[in-house]
Symmetry: C3
Subunit: 664 residues, 3 copies
């Protein structure tokens, strides 16, 4: 792998309406591209019939890449199965809550099915074997945006019962753990265990989803092990992890963007089988471009291995909602770098002319001619040749961790706070408030959390928390840490059973308060801001109320609290309200944690990092369509992009959607 | 049964996360509770495997009840089937319009299935046999909120065809009754009768729903007959009838409240197999507490047997939307008594920690500690020890009947007036206007109507009415009664076939008007109030128009009419509009009927009753968060709750959500 | 067939609650009716059991028609199958994307199923044979509002593969045509072709819908061929073609109206097997009556054969939303004539008392008595006896064609512009703007387009266009025509594959512009009007920008353009915005085309035609509830309806919803 920032695109010679490989590679090269990702979508092209293989197009792409000095990432093509396989073995299609689907979409197979595994393994071996020796191949992507696809076949369910047996040993323990006595759901012989797809038991349903996420991670580990048999030392294994997808408008379920924690696979489990973390990040743009999704996604993926990561996919034009304003593509690109990305790859090189994602446009529009989008990418692509080496391998060491958890996500899906308030809404509310204040953080899966790395830990709606996690966080505060928790934290154990004592469970001393009532907020407000979705009525004990509810009856209860506990501080936000209120709390908490908050805030974003050689860089990003100025806060700094020098107090001007990178 | 108001809760030792039976019973006793309902949810606990029975927990609850002098209602546990039964006999799951479901939820079985009946009968006999001799057991609840659950298996359909044969004898009669010739649906041999689930014929579909309601009632009669074999003379048989459930927000289908007439079973049919009518009433609270649902539900259930009834379930905290303001729980409780309840039972004692209804909270929150809700209940619970005997067995004799009908409900579901205007909307509109004016009424199933009990009869949207019913109402007016009917009354026969002559059928003389056109209201108004949803264009004949439409083209038609007919009066409300307009009509009608309307109105509610010893009581209920005063309308009265005496003209002060009970 | 305007209704003796045939026919006759349509709905009446036929009621209707001198149209009763047929041969029910349905609704059969065809042919032959000799029978309607009903059985799919084989010969060609390589969907042996119901490939899905439309048309051709074996020379074959149906409110899917191009059958293909085009047109009325649907439907159906057509069904009262204001029924009727209808027939004579369409009311309300609706129809019905001969056989020769295309409709369903912007929205936007300006046009299926008939051609969102169509339109402009195209025209080939070169494909010279970007409009405006749904960013080359976007970043792009090309002009509207902006463009385009625009506009509509004898007539229609005046634009004209004479400059007064027919 070259010592350069990666810039490239997914490329599909298979989809081209006419032969233009040379022209495409020439255009890429001219734009400063140095990498393409190929092969990951088109199993039916590589294996047109059972056991008949045809790598003609693959070889042509590899030959071309060599000729134009482009690096290549090879994807295993397993996420979309060929028609002949389904014709031959219909059971490879996953059986879900909705029964067995029809062939057509991608990601519809049962990833556990032995027949799928047999054919999958064969094509993986063939593709990797065929390409691993090529010098231009720098790494492999296993599968694509893998999830469990709701797999719930009889075999999967049998495996689930085995998993439960191993975990609980007796049906009595099982019944107790999930309160299966409720509505007569208890089982007293393992063979009576019913089809879990019908269960109304939130805990059991949550456990099954946990099991399904494990199946998905196991599947990627299996792929990784196969690839390892072939790959060279210098080749990486990557996977493009994605996020919960939310539509712009519920009436158009296709167009949307990366929003929050992925419900259907656990990134941390996956990351263990990768040598490089990768991610697909898509985000609103035009007037809706805030940079928050780029930062959230990057902070999440970087924290998996506490290392740089690859943006495997990001948007060139994408949907009509994403047609970029001048300057925005450049801002996107530098924003990814500002989070610690090794580089970015567009999905995809050329807009597709038929199929499904015809209006998920690539670097080239349907006319396949270089135009505005190509030219803007080309402009910073060539800039990277000059400045890339000064940005490669930037490290970040954040003192703040925001902790996420798929189990809590599932829990609050089964037991919603409000139709308008999901787990990820709370995660993004707490993340975005930090982001807008320019408090940088890691976004850490609860299973990966090392509390001693951080001075301040934030738990958004950590509905499910084991006794062990609770004890660690309690100790973190005792030892001098600052904890900021939201409502619905520390309520249930890992089986989504509400702890049957004072809430937040085992944290009432830490927070100096407890509650036994919560309510729809009605007209309640806090600090003048309306409360929406959910409110806990906090009974403040040792702690201090930072604000009570403004409400005739709930005025006697706290809405947000603070407590001195051991050597640390514990903050609790009891309700969902304006980010402004949360920011006020953060300001106090950050001060307690000794974290300095920059004197600028969104739409002006500053993100920083450092290099092994001691250099520090600060990305200044203007997320607005108006010009902005910043007063240089550093003694002396140079803008990497134009080598202009600034001294403390100098005015730094940023045009609309502009970037300045100060190096110290 | 003790001569006390009943106060209690559903109790589930089976659901407890740890053993605390003694503590729970002690807390109940201290709060003034005197009854618990047990056993009705957990068949799989009592019969963990086929023909293996385990009543350990049941016995412990009964022993505890005895020790703490609590009375017990035993429920038959049939509404939630165990997993082993479904595993063994999958056909016990109902086959509905959507096919056969998966195991998990309650109330998913085919209540007619012989296999279900076999196992159901066995567990009923075992449970009743095991408990009937216990002196603390005062009665039995058969099943729980029973409905037909859409059962439409081939066997059910065969029975339906038999039912049709018996009713119509020939296919010609059948075709004629439902106009099956329409769209080629006629059958000319019984064996050609198709799967009724697909029918588009509104009449036939309605007839099938009528048949399904009958199956549900038959099922409860069957359970009652079994229980009668075991029960003592002094033990009652109750069933907890519920109402149409509407969600607070369609985006959250679970949280909602008791709204109107139950579509899926006929309460009157059910009541014949009960010795005590019971009901589950849930209602909006906090700022939305009006008392209307408590009154509507009570007036409906009381009228089934013209006797006192039991509130088998009502809300302690329930959903987050129901977290009560201080004073509201007391107001709820006295409001139930004001409608003639024998007492109330909360669902449930303790909040459940896992399962499905985790956030349908009970008297105790998840921490299982006495707190605000417990303390408020405890306060009036202990008050009842002092004053309960003065309130027990209150009788009501109302002069007004509001007549309801499931067939009309079904009819207006098949043939909607408007997506925004259901049968129950009209029922509640006409009921709530009475309620707000403090005109008390019975809510009477059309099959139970005895016209000579009443001076004024109200028919909301009685879309389906037999010739016999129509003749009786006509006679009622002729004999001096006052009839108030809304639009869409007297339009169809019992098969939902529109009567093919002047509408309202056979009532055009009675009302002195007819109509042949109706319309979407557009911009039409009546007395300045906009008309919404539906409007009939009344051609006034002998009658008097009380108001014409305010509209360029419909102005020539009446919107509401009055007619002198025989010795009585007949009012007709031709459109849906503001309750204010309806109240104006009611004021005239009540005057005609010689019914006095109190000089106070919602949020001040007065509900009255009398006792065998000649005492009269008047509940004054303040449904608002502001203090209110009432001028005592009685010569001399004593507030039962504080023994304060008032004379005519005295000012009676009520705090927010307060209750005063005047005894004369 | 008499030389009279047709006036009549669908009549169903089969649905009558009691015998009143004589009375009905007498009432019809008195109202000026001269035709009824019978028999088309009630197969189960004519064939109560397999191979048992009973035409008693049919004969009675025919005898009655003879007696009362009414003409009769006989419908084949095939669109609603009898229960016995489904019982005997369940496979006659169509298997669709949702599996096989249940018996009950109409139009649920597999129109290709050999068993259905066997029984269908038998009943058609029986009915036609039985009636063709009757002198009163003037024609036959084959089936009813036929569509493909989603038929996708294994047999249909086999036929589809044969169709593909014939079209593409090799799987390679197939894969290429639809880019099946995308997501591994390519097939390399025909036997691997998967169940097409699951495909995500928009092109392939579109091709299957095209094939399904062909099946539907083939089915009608088959019926027509059977009827031809029996019918007399003087008897016509008609079919009642309908339009895309949109609901008034999505919460009430039943009530709606005829909106735009029919997606599920191609009218032009159908029309070839008819001797008379027929149509069912339903439209908003009351305050929403604009006349646009009557005009759009009429212009579409008239253009199929460039001849007069029959309104087979239109509304008397219909839904509650359609209860007509006084004068509106007359306005409806004359509006149909103004588009070239031979006459109109109401659906239906009498309101049905049970079934499904109980509230799709007929000429008589449920009371079956003549009332307001009957009397208004009767009034102009009798007028027609006097003036009908002066209106019969009016011809229209329009110089403007608006071109429609089901393939583009399907394409924009698979690849939507926006959830709020369908193909038919664009069609109606472009049609309605013409209509409101009183520019009359033909609405022409692209397959029927003869460019040399027209001076101006309009293509709304012609997403799919063959090379041949594009070449013809290019030539049309070169030769002096005026072309007006909207965004999304000329984007894809007939397989919905986007053309991989500059867009609009092969029309960039013609329009003098191209584009490679499009966008969600955000805050963009054009000429002060907000743009919604979709906007193309036009790069103006040889052409002239008529307006640029009002937007910080898109201001550099054209929003609407004009170009001189050859001897003609080409206009392009690049975005969806107010009709006012479009009208401004039309004004210029019409001037270029030498088309005179009348000096009046909606709510005053003028529609014109001419007769073989040289007379010209101009219908003046007042679509408003206020009186209007028009200054007579003709030297001398006589109002056919009252024989009043007007000279140029005279004031012609129209009452609310009034009609004047000027004859020159």
């Amino acid at each position: 792998m070259k010592k350069e920032l990666l810039l490239g695109a997914a490329y599909y010679l298979e989809y081209m309406p006419y032969d233009r490989l040379e022209e495409d590679l020439k255009l890429m090269k001219a734009a400063g591209f140095n990498v393409i990702r190929i092969a990951e979508s088109t199993w039916s092209t590589w294996e047109p019939e059972d056991n008949v293989f045809d790598f003609t197009l693959l070889d042509r792409m590899l030959d071309g890449a060599k000729k134009y000095d482009l690096q290549v990432i090879i994807g295993t093509p397993t996420y979309a199965v060929p028609a002949w396989l389904v014709k031959k073995h219909p059971q490879v299609l996953a059986e879900t809550r909705n029964g067995r689907g029809l062939y057509g979409p991608r990601q519809i197979m049962d990833i556990t099915d032995p027949m799928f595994r047999f054919y999958g393994e064969r094509i993986i071996r063939k593709v990797i074997e065929h390409t691993a020796d090529r010098p231009c191949v720098i790494g492999f992507q296993i599968d694509n945006e893998t999830k469990h696809y709701g797999t719930a076949s009889p075999e999967v369910q049998k495996a689930f019962v085995e998993y439960l047996k191993e975990k609980f040993r007796t049906t009595d323990n099982l019944n107790k753990a999930f309160n299966l006595a409720y509505w007569s759901n208890s089982v007293h012989r393992w063979e009576d265990f019913p089809d879990v797809r019908g269960t109304i038991n939130g805990g059991l349903a949550g456990e099954f989803e946990k099991f399904q996420r494990k199946l998905a991670a196991d599947y990627l580990h299996w792929q990784s092990d196969i690839v390892k048999e072939y790959k060279r030392e210098d080749q990486f294994i990557v996977h493009n992890m994605d996020f919960e997808w939310v539509p712009f408008d519920p009436r158009d379920p296709f167009s949307g963007y990366s929003y929050g924690v992925q419900p259907d696979i656990n990134h941390y489990e996956v990351s263990k089988c990768l040598t490089l973390a990768g991610t697909d990040i898509y985000h609103p743009t035009q007037d809706q471009l805030t940079g928050a999704e780029i930062a959230f996604g990057g902070d999440s993926i970087r924290s998996l291995k506490q290392d740089n990561y690859l943006v495997s996919e990001c948007q060139a034009q994408g949907f009509k909602q994403w047609t970029p304003y001048p300057g925005q593509l450049k801002l996107h690109a530098y924003s990814h770098l500002a989070s610690g990305a090794l580089g970015i790859m567009y999905w995809n090189w050329h807009s597709v002319h038929n199929g499904f994602e015809v209006y998920w446009k690539g670097v080239l529009s349907h006319d396949l001619k270089p135009a505005a989008v190509y030219h803007e990418i080309s402009s910073f692509g060539n800039e990277w040749k000059a400045v890339g080496s000064r940005l490669l391998g930037m490290k970040k060491t954040n003192k703040v961790a925001l902790v996420t958890d798929n189990v809590s996500l599932t829990g609050l899906k089964k037991f919603p706070m409000d139709w308008s308030l999901t787990y990820n809404n709370v995660v993004r509310w707490m993340y975005d408030a930090l982001y807008e204040m320019n408090i940088e953080c890691d976004v850490v899966d609860v299973n990966a959390l090392e509390t001693d790395r951080y001075k301040m830990i934030i738990t958004p709606a950590m509905y499910s928390a084991t006794e062990e996690t609770i004890a660690r966080l309690d100790q973190f505060v005792k030892d001098g840490g600052v904890l900021v928790s939201s409502f619905k934290s520390f309520m249930c154990n890992e089986y989504l059973s509400v702890y049957p004592d004072s809430l937040p469970h085992n944290m009432t001393q830490c927070f100096g308060m407890s509650y036994d009532q919560f309510t729809a907020p009605g007209t309640a407000a806090v600090k003048g801001h309306p409360v929406t979705g959910f409110a806990e009525l906090l009974k403040v004990d040792e702690g201090t109320s930072l604000a009570s509810y403004e409400h005739k009856y709930w005025g006697r209860y706290g809405a947000m609290t603070k407590n001195d506990y051991g050597k640390g501080k514990a903050y609790y936000m009891g309700c969902y309200t304006s980010k402004d209120v949360l920011k006020e709390l953060y300001r106090q908490a950050a001060a307690d944690a000794g974290i300095e908050i920059p004197d600028l805030s969104w739409p002006l974003i500053m993100r920083s990092g450092s290099f092994d050689d001691g250099r520090q860089v600060h990305f200044l990003l203007n997320y607005s369509q108006t010009e902005q100025t910043v007063t240089c806060p550093f003694e002396r700094a140079v803008n990497i992009l134009d080598n202009k020098e600034y001294k403390k107090g100098d005015t730094i001007a940023l045009k609309d959607w502009d970037v300045v990178i100060l190096e110290r």
